[in-house]
């Protein structure tokens, strides 16, 4: 007990890291489930269905399968770098999430904010510096496998990530100019207003330029940065077998997979913070009924699950889905308790916005075909970069315009 009161920062941070790691790992697993389900439904299929009710245990089964597969290391590979690459990819993508504030800093435990692991003053800059070295995981994996396909994948990925990182960073600078700060909390607080019209993406007013162009540039560049369709050239199956991770198997392959999904979550969080008001609610604070929204939503989900359990589920699946129903109803009831409802308010809106962006990601994957390599490069350099630069210049002009007018 004495140790805890003497080192509150250390102890609270360790607890937060452990909890966040558990949540993120679970979220990664179920993101794969969500992706398969959504794509399946878009393509008029069922998706995972048999492992657990509605395929809910599929991620667990996949994880176990990855663990028990044989781990093959090609004899001609560079052993050290070959082993280092997946660790680098996963560790860096998880580190980035530690900087994200999932809720307001006013919720505290032992004097430390609960919803962010590391509250850094120049959070955005640190986040960019961590994601900028994320390319090594892919590039080194491609090189160390000593295979032509892997090398091509690694080369493509480094070229693509360098190119799109420029647009990604420049599209964000407009938001920085409006907020006048690199701290995530200040950027979010700057978007507080009576309605969602005060979010950076829509905010029109004196000295404000709506960042809708910046948001679109950011989203496009972010999809390219995370190597997702339509920018998944580094692992184009039709040309490169599986690209940079062709030679990887077992859990090392799973680590690349997890890193990709963790990166998706990170860029969604960043889009939420910079353009969509972070943990702010889209409604004015005076509408107090919004406190009950998370609980009500969970209970509605629970009621639907109960209907499904009784109506369509049979056998073991019925039992499994009954558990899901109970969890949803219990969670909903918990969220309706006044103190809990107040605490989770910010996290609820943050999660809702992230899920919307992730759904958009998956939707893109189910809809769009892949770019050709020269199209990818000319799109990045000749369209995305000039547009994001123009957005930056316009934003800066709108901000300094009152000063220019006053001084003649």
């Amino acid at each position: 007990m004495g140790f805890i009161t003497q080192h509150p920062v250390l102890v609270v941070s360790l607890v937060k890291i452990a909890v966040l790691l558990f949540i993120v790992m679970t979220a990664l697993a179920y993101l794969t489930w969500l992706e398969r389900k959504v794509i399946a439904h878009i393509q008029s299929r069922w998706g995972p269905y048999y492992v657990g009710a509605h395929g809910l245990l599929q991620p667990l089964a996949d994880g176990l399968k990855f663990m028990f597969k044989e781990d093959v290391t090609p004899p001609v590979s560079d052993r050290l770098v070959y082993t280092l690459a997946p660790f680098l990819a996963l560790a860096l993508s998880l580190t980035a999430i530690a900087l994200i504030p999932f809720g307001p800093p006013s919720v505290q435990l032992l004097g430390q904010p609960v919803f962010v692991v590391s509250n850094v003053d120049i959070g955005l800059l640190f986040l960019f510096s961590i994601t900028s070295i994320g390319v090594y995981g892919v590039a080194l994996a491609g090189w160390s496998s000593n295979s032509k396909y892997s090398l091509m994948g690694g080369l493509r990925s480094s070229a693509q990530m360098i190119s799109y990182e420029v647009s990604l960073t420049i599209s964000v600078v407009g938001v920085l100019l409006l907020a006048g700060s690199l701290s995530f909390n200040e950027i979010i607080e700057g978007q507080r207003g009576s309605f969602f019209l005060h979010w950076n993406i829509l905010h029109i007013g004196r000295g404000f330029f709506p960042q809708i162009i910046g948001f679109l540039c950011y989203l496009t560049a972010a999809i390219a940065e995370t190597n997702r369709i339509p920018f998944d050239l580094p692992e184009a199956e039709t040309e490169l077998v599986a690209g940079f991770h062709t030679e990887y198997s077992s859990f090392k392959f799973a680590m690349f997979f997890m890193a990709e999904y963790a990166n998706m979550i990170t860029v969604s969080c960043l889009a939420t913070i910079l353009f969509l008001g972070g943990w702010l609610s889209p409604f004015p604070d005076s509408w107090t009924w919004q406190l009950w929204l998370p609980g009500a939503g969970l209970i509605l989900l629970g009621i639907y699950c109960a209907y499904d359990t009784v109506k369509t589920m049979r056998g073991i699946a019925q039992l499994q889905f009954a558990v899901v129903t109970l969890l949803a109803l219990g969670g909903g009831a918990l969220c309706l308790l006044p103190p809990v409802a107040g605490i989770i308010q910010g996290v609820f809106w943050f999660t809702a916005k992230i899920l919307a962006i992730l759904f958009f990601y998956i939707w893109m994957r189910a809809t769009l075909p892949r770019f050709r390599y020269d199209q990818l490069m000319s799109f990045g350099w000749k369209l995305l970069l000039p547009v994001s630069l123009a957005n930056l210049v316009l934003t800066a002009l709108v901000i300094v315009w009152p000063m220019l007018v006053r001084h003649g």
Binding site: V81, D121, I133, L155, A159, I162, L182
Partner: protein
């Protein structure tokens, strides 16, 4: 031992180890990785000196941009391991002692200069962390001319690279 001191010792050893590995490694990619290790350790040292902005920029620019290009070029050319020539005798008998002497001299100077005292006391620990606003104020007011001159220099370098890389028509 305080946590900053432990961090300093670990990162200083990592930086030195990385620098030695950079010279001794025969595979170009291993050398590049060692250089990245040096830069990351230096970034942590900047952080300990109370300058998070410089630390972030160090990682962003050097490890995240310049070294990515290095690795990219090494991968693109995919050259084999480097060939060793014998040590030149001059380097062995004159260079090494001179280098060692320079290190001693530099350490001696640092130990007795005001700059060394500031570093030893830890600028970060005394709460004088330089924030981004102050830094940019200095950069865009007091040091505006050197800043602009540097950007023109970089522009010229880019143009030079373009001219060199252009194919003959």
């Amino acid at each position: 031992m305080s946590i900053p001191l432990i961090l300093f010792i670990v990162c200083a050893l990592l930086a030195i180890g990385g620098a030695v590995a950079l010279i001794l490694a025969r595979e170009p990619i291993h050398s590049a990785l060692a250089l990245i290790l040096v830069m990351m350790s230096l970034a942590v040292l900047y952080l300990l000196l109370g300058s998070p902005f410089i630390a972030a920029v160090q990682i962003l620019v050097y490890a995240g941009a310049i070294m990515v290009l290095f690795v990219f070029v090494i991968m693109l050319l995919n050259e084999g391991v480097e060939e060793r020539t014998n040590f030149s005798r001059l380097a062995k008998y004159v260079g090494l002692p001179l280098g060692f002497f320079l290190l001693l001299e530099f350490g001696h100077w640092l130990a007795h200069s005001p700059a060394g005292a500031v570093i030893a006391n830890g600028a970060g620990a005394s709460g004088q962390a330089a924030d981004t606003a102050k830094l940019s104020e200095q950069l865009f007011r007091q040091y505006l001319f050197p800043f602009e001159a540097t950007s023109i220099l970089i522009l010229i370098a880019i143009l030079g690279a373009l001219v060199l890389a252009r194919k003959e028509e």
